[in-house]
């Protein structure tokens, strides 16, 4: 991934600052609880939810297992339908391709559909550097862009802002970008949405180039799918002459029929609706309807490295519904910015360190940004075992080991900060393999239990500041067993 969030502090520090912001916590709590309740209701309407979830998981796993075949099949079908396919190994290459494609049109502005992939590669910044203005057209993305802010949620990027803050941003910034906010704008959501409509419509109607991502790509037909609510997506996908879609290689499904699973699970999991207001599906170009030039940029940018990890590759099943964010107790309190990535929340905690590698402090801290409560796994519509991957990544960071980076196998060194943990583990290993020594230690601990401190000294102080030290029992289990059962088998 590119350096969109360069210089972010590690999660513990960012989270510590975020939880002290009462407005942020209030906004987040309201939003996550609202959507979580609604989602449960929408899911309960489908009696076969468990079967849909299992099918979604299997379709994605099958696709990943044959990803090379499906990628080449998709390339053929998109080309046959009149599209042009490009391959981008990393963010820089994707940005270079898109910039060149826009320059070829002679245009200096583009309209954009909300897309995680283009956020991930920092496309807007790359275009800006080339003198091309990219306008975000999703209402929440517009709020983020006008507020010179960063997105904090996959589905609702401006979830951290309340209506008053949004009004102030519109009044202050809209005039800088185009049509100013209407006189006397209040903070009612309807008026704010109307202001966005007026501001963006002039851009839609004159735009010659649209840029999007896609929720799904169908290998057998070459069809791309974008789900959205506002109609801004339809504007960008159909009004311009040229459409450029930047899509991660994991977004493929093999067959047209596969959409029947995800078009049922995605809307209910993300916006908690039976169906989102608009879904656009296009296959290459259509004579006389919509863009007559269509480019598809297939993006790797760390995805094949993720695919190489036997435990972590399941993160590539993700359909970006954001249900895991809304149930996560850590996300609810820390907010999306603390994760230092375009993918916040539980899925971000496993996806970002895999896509970017764990070299930076923030990426090495992300697998620890979780309470491992498992709520994220329960709601995931493609059954990604996020806790399993979190634990796997923690082990990799603490112990080091072989990982794939840019297609090459590299050996990671154990992280520096974990020396004490590793020493403790070494000591535990020794003790467990020397029963006599362990028994002696246990007896000693039991007899001195009244003199044990409540908090740990030295480097352990931070750990015990927020935790109760476990009490040492008066006798060990082994001793108790010896005493009460005499070591005899009493089942007979």
């Amino acid at each position: 991934m590119s350096g969109t969030f360069v210089g972010m502090p590690a999660f513990p520090k960012a989270a510590h600052e975020a939880v002290n912001n009462a407005t942020l916590r209030g906004n987040l709590r309201h939003a996550t609880h609202t959507i979580r309740t609604k989602r449960a209701k929408a899911v309960a309407e489908l009696s076969d939810w468990a079967e849909l979830r299992e099918a979604g998981k299997r379709i994605k796993d099958h696709t990943l297992r044959h990803l090379d075949r499906y990628l080449t099949q998709l390339e053929e079908s998109v080309t046959a339908a009149g599209g042009v396919v490009h391959w981008a190994a990393d963010a820089e290459e994707a940005n270079r391709i898109v910039t060149a494609l826009v320059k070829m049109t002679g245009e200096s502005e583009v309209v954009k559909v909300k897309s995680m992939a283009t956020q991930e590669i920092g496309l807007n910044e790359a275009l800006e550097a080339a003198g091309i203005h990219a306008y975000e057209t999703d209402l929440a993305e517009l709020i983020v862009q006008l507020g010179k802010d960063r997105p904090s949620h996959i589905l609702v990027p401006a979830i951290h802002r309340n209506r008053g803050e949004i009004r102030d941003i519109f009044v202050r910034e809209m005039g800088e970008w185009g049509r100013p906010a209407p006189e006397g704008l209040t903070d009612t959501p309807a008026e704010l949405a109307e202001a966005a409509r007026l501001h963006l419509r002039e851009k839609f109607l004159r735009a010659k180039v649209g840029i999007s991502g896609a929720n799904f790509m169908v290998a057998e037909t070459g069809t791309l799918v974008v789900v959205e609510s506002e109609g801004n997506g339809r504007m960008c996908l159909t009004l311009p002459e040229t459409l450029i879609s930047v899509v991660g290689i994991e977004k493929i499904v093999p067959s047209w029929r596969d959409l029947e699973v995800f078009l049922q699970t995605l809307p209910r999991s993300s916006t908690a609706e039976r169906m989102n207001p608009y879904t656009s599906m296009w296959t290459g170009t259509t004579d006389g309807d919509g863009p007559q030039t269509f480019h598809l940029v297939l993006l790797d940018n760390g995805r094949t490295d993720t695919l190489a990890d036997e435990v972590g590759r399941q993160a590539l099943r993700c359909i970006r519904c954001s249900a895991c964010l809304n149930v996560c107790p850590v996300y609810e309190r820390a907010g999306g910015h603390a994760y230092g990535s375009v993918y916040p929340g539980p899925i971000g905690a496993i996806l970002s360190p895999q896509l970017r590698g764990t070299a930076s402090e923030i990426d090495a801290s992300l697998p620890y940004a979780s309470s491992l409560c498992g709520a994220c796994y329960e709601v995931c519509p493609v059954a990604i075992d996020i806790p399993e991957v979190l634990v796997h990544l923690r082990e990799r960071i603490a112990e080091g080991g072989r990982v794939t980076k840019d297609g090459n196998t590299v050996v990671l060194k154990p992280a520096k900060g974990h020396a004490a943990e590793r020493a403790a583990m070494r000591a535990a290993r020794w003790a467990f393999s020397h029963p006599g020594a362990m028994g002696a230690g246990q007896r000693l601990a039991s007899r001195t239990r009244r003199f044990h401190p409540r908090t740990l000294p030295g480097p352990g102080r931070a750990w015990s500041a927020t935790r109760e030290l476990p009490a040492v029992p008066a006798e060990s289990f082994r001793e108790w067993w010896q005493r009460t059962r005499g070591g005899k088998d009493t089942t007979k």
């Binding site: 109607l205 009004l239 067959s255 207001p277 656009s280 599906m281 790797d300």
Partner: protein, 226 residues
Amino acid sequence: MSSRDLILGRVRRALADVPRDGAPPAPERPGKDSPYEEAVARSYLREHGSRSVAETVDLLAENLADYRAIVHRSTEEELPYVIMRLLAERGAQYVLVPPRLPPEWMSAADPTQVHDRAVSTPHELDRVASVVTGCAVAVAETGTIVLDGSPDQGRRRITLIPDHHICVVRVPDQVVASVPQALERLDPARPLTWISGPSATSDIELDRVEGVHGPRTLEVVLVSGE
């Protein structure tokens, strides 16, 4: 090495540990009975609950209304008058019509009919307040209408730019119960637009607001054959 070969090579190396399952990939042409379909168990339902044809149409009406579409029912004879009334209520002077909307649908309407020509700019279309179209299929369980760009529905932009969309659904022929049944009826080669209620956003404190960029008002007329 091209980035294409680079990426495909990385994918193959990344999957070196995985025993390739026997299932071949999806067929070259769309078809339901490919070996791929057998590779993925599909134990989920083709539709949820059992309903009579009339009940399926009722469910469509109910779910459309739940997402703030305005639903009307009419017979074929009444349809021109229903359309006339809906346009009159909006005070529409001009109405966009696709190239081959059944002419009798508009036979009673007063507004001047505007055709979407290839040379029309989006700015020109923006001056028209209403559009009348047919549809390809409607999905009862989700309250969705699907447009496929057929001549009675027109280019995608005509149902997007005007603020008021009247969509005529023939019941029961064009109504299916579920998403799986809808996909079976659709041709992926066509540009498809699935519409579930009017344009909406929940981006501000998750309060749902209807009408951002697409039509603010969606009226669906369920027209029965008899």
